[in-house]
Symmetry: C2
Subunit: 113 residues, 2 copies
């Protein structure tokens, strides 16, 4: 039986119209989550365990939930893996240009010493 038919808490994603800006900002205001989002922009979809972050798996699950409940990422199940993708269209539909602006600002580089 595939996971999508299991009797377990399904992956909850907010509607595009329900995405709250403050939730998005809070989700992005964390170095680990920012790394996840940046990695995800370069590649359309990617399994959970393949992100260049240095935290425990359970911590990674926590960060994915924060991003998912904020409406930043989408996760789908496929066999044993959970594929993660940016909700680019939804985010850009609700807040045009915002994600590019924030990610672009991040590329400007860290603060000077």
């Amino acid at each position: 039986m595939p996971r999508s038919q299991r009797r377990r808490p399904a992956l909850t994603h907010p509607d595009a119209a329900e995405i709250d800006l403050l939730d998005v900002l809070h989700a992005l205001a964390d170095p680990t989550r920012m790394t996840i989002v940046r990695t995800l922009r370069a590649e359309p979809e990617r399994p959970c365990g393949t992100f260049p972050v240095d935290v425990a798996p359970s911590t990674l699950t926590h960060h994915f939930r924060v991003l998912r409940e904020a409406g930043v990422i989408h996760q789908r199940e496929d066999g044993n893996r959970r594929w993660t993708a940016l909700r680019l269209a939804d985010l850009d539909g609700r807040f045009p240009g915002l994600l590019d602006s924030i990610l672009g600002a991040y590329e400007t580089g860290p603060a000077a010493p």
Copy 2:
């Protein structure tokens, strides 16, 4: 003796080059602070006590410190008052277009019910 010469902890503002994006995002990811910044964009400078927020004065002081240490606002003392202003030029110099993009996104309105 004016306040600027007092023996009290001076107002510390980070250098423009030291402004960290994650700190800015975290500072803006709060409804009270977002209201402060939005109010500040409409008016160039404004005394502390005149913001349309519904929190205790000590809480307001706390939020001003978060915004100031993130480099979002500048505060100067004048007699009995503390004038607060957006660091628009510094912010836009470091992260061009970012603040407009975020505030514009906020004007898009709250999440649908």
